[in-house]
Symmetry: C2
Subunit: 364 residues, 2 copies
């Protein structure tokens, strides 16, 4: 029993009123007699009428009350937190979220962006993978609003939300330096990724300030998965003059390093970028650069909404990071007896902000 979707004309006929009256009632406009309002609602309910948003938006000459979110991978906890944050702000304005994963493929990213343009989204939040986003300039001139997240766009001036990569990496490196390490290995993604370059720069900067030479032989860029990182860790440890500590540039690297250390019963100190929800339960103590991913999403959404409301001067927001130490020196020996040990929920063990405020100002 597959019936056709009723239109306003159908409703008008059913209610015995004119088309415009139905439109008025459905849109909650005033100036319709209570009796007709009732008849229209009755007909709407009887026919199961749902106003066609396509026709409505088309006629009104506007976009589709929706925002596009182009990220690397929806399945990654960082991005899903971001998506959640974005959603929290956009849902209040009755925007629909169209999510798409670029999979770090510039071509795919471009395709998704243009696809969303064709769907006439009002705005987009993009985690840029492509090296050049000037192709968006034309869309922007035609009314598309864009906010970049996690990395700045190249070839384009636009609102941007970034994480304090430099400060976080410095804090993570200082943590290891403070514990007396001079041979610190670094594991990270390819250096072509902007965030990775920033984090590496922070690492170098912290070493330089401490007068510790940059360990060329301990810098391992390329691994993608935890398994890759574990293998790389093994190789580093098996080399001559092995590292005594590790700086993992993202959560996947951290997990890989820890897994290999645990497998060996090794005791290297570890710090890493990106927080891990369950780090308080780990056998090994470590320090992680933490930041609020959902907040990054919320800020991006906020910037986008402001733009849709008319703001035109580009802004940049930097999300602050915090170094969180998980587990104590004694942790791992079947949980500490004191309350000062690792714990996942509740207050964190030790925090040190790498940035004072949430720094927002004109940029570009």
């Amino acid at each position: 029993m597959r019936s056709r979707r009723p239109t306003m004309v159908d409703v008008a006929r059913e209610a015995g009123v004119g088309l415009k009256t139905v439109s008025r009632v459905v849109n909650g406009e005033s100036g319709v007699s209570p009796e007709l309002v009732d008849r229209v609602f009755q007909a709407v309910a009887k026919l199961g009428f749902r106003r066609n948003a396509m026709a409505r938006d088309l006629r009104a000459g506007r976009s589709t009350a929706s925002v596009g979110l182009v990220i690397e991978d929806l399945g990654n906890p960082f991005y899903s937190s971001v998506a959640r944050g974005v959603e929290q702000l956009t849902r209040d304005r009755d925007f629909v979220l169209m999510t798409a994963s670029s999979e770090e493929d510039p071509e795919r990213e471009r395709g998704l962006v243009l696809e969303l343009c064709q769907r006439r989204v009002e705005g987009m939040i993009i985690v840029p993978t492509a090296l050049d986003h000037s192709f968006l300039q034309a869309e922007i001139e035609m009314g598309l609003q864009v906010v970049f997240l996690d990395r700045p766009a190249t070839g384009l001036i636009a609102d941007t939300v970034l994480v304090d990569n430099l400060g976080g990496a410095i804090a993570a490196t200082d943590y290891l330096l403070d514990r007396g390490h001079h041979r610190i290995a670094v594991l990270g993604h390819e250096a072509k990724v902007w965030t990775m370059r920033q984090r590496l720069a922070g690492f170098r900067s912290a070493l330089a300030r401490a007068g510790v030479p940059y360990p060329e032989d301990l810098v391992c860029l390329g691994p993608l998965t935890p398994a890759d990182a574990a293998a790389a860790t093994a190789q580093l440890l098996d080399g001559g003059d092995p590292p005594t500590a590790f700086f993992a540039c993202n959560n996947r690297m951290t997990v890989g390093v820890l897994a290999e250390l645990q497998r060996r019963g090794g005791a290297a100190d570890v710090s890493g970028f990106d927080d891990i929800e369950t780090a308080g339960l780990f056998a090994q103590p470590l320090a992680l650069v933490s930041y609020d991913a959902a907040e990054a999403g919320r800020r991006a959404a906020q910037l986008l909404l402001e733009r849709l409301d008319g703001r035109r001067t580009p802004q940049q927001v930097v999300i602050p990071t915090t170094l969180v130490r998980y587990g104590s020196e004694t942790a791992g020996r079947r949980a500490p007896a004191t309350g000062a040990g690792a714990r996942t929920p509740g207050p964190r063990a030790a925090r040190a902000s790498t940035r004072a405020g949430s720094g927002s100002g004109a940029g570009g």
Copy 2:
């Protein structure tokens, strides 16, 4: 410099051809002379024309080549994996994914579903929170295709993808029973949630089969966050005749239980529903009911696509679970020396499937 978005009419004028010719070229139809094709493409590029999908779909009388995904919380790892799985299949058909979080609020869920109906999505994948979905019947009769995920819908016959809750819970309980426990505590969400009832039923069933009495005083339903679960764990442990083991009905419960045990240096055995990515790095050994959330999303998307292609007989798919043991008895004492210990990436320590196949068949 905010210019108006060009339409096909603009392109036609620019190229000096008729409207229909532009339409033909833009849609890759044959039967246009190469010369005109070229002129049209030139004009398209010059003006930055992007075909308006709203107008196109409206005129064609079809839906918007999009699927809606209504889940509980995009930020939850389980749901973001599901979303990723859905996306993997739908992107190939050039569908756009509209994601929305119901936040376990039946009213909100209903609102989101109807909103997506107004947007004329072709189909929806819903994790049902509401108790009654018969209101969807009308939409379905008007062409909407629906697949339910994680829980069956009530008051409605439709395609459904479920996890083997019963089998998983039995396996998790058996694990604890096999280790000699008779006083097993259960922590879980409210029993009004279908999955929770299933998991509890599995727990009861395993106990009954082992001749162990159901421990009324150790069943704690209600906690939502890890902190709630930790507090509940503390209360259970501080009571008279405390439990010697815990069955945590979801990942948040598991984390809470472990956190409290770790804080106390306690040694209770733990098993839990839902896998945790980093469980191999935990100080405490445990067993987790694991299943492929992304696969659940893919299967749901597959069912939806089949429906869009014309299938009409309702189907049900059950995603199998596996009990994964993390860490050995010696784990936690600063990592085991042998390779048999916990490790996160790579092959899992010990698996025992709770279901033979991926069971798919007619249902409803």
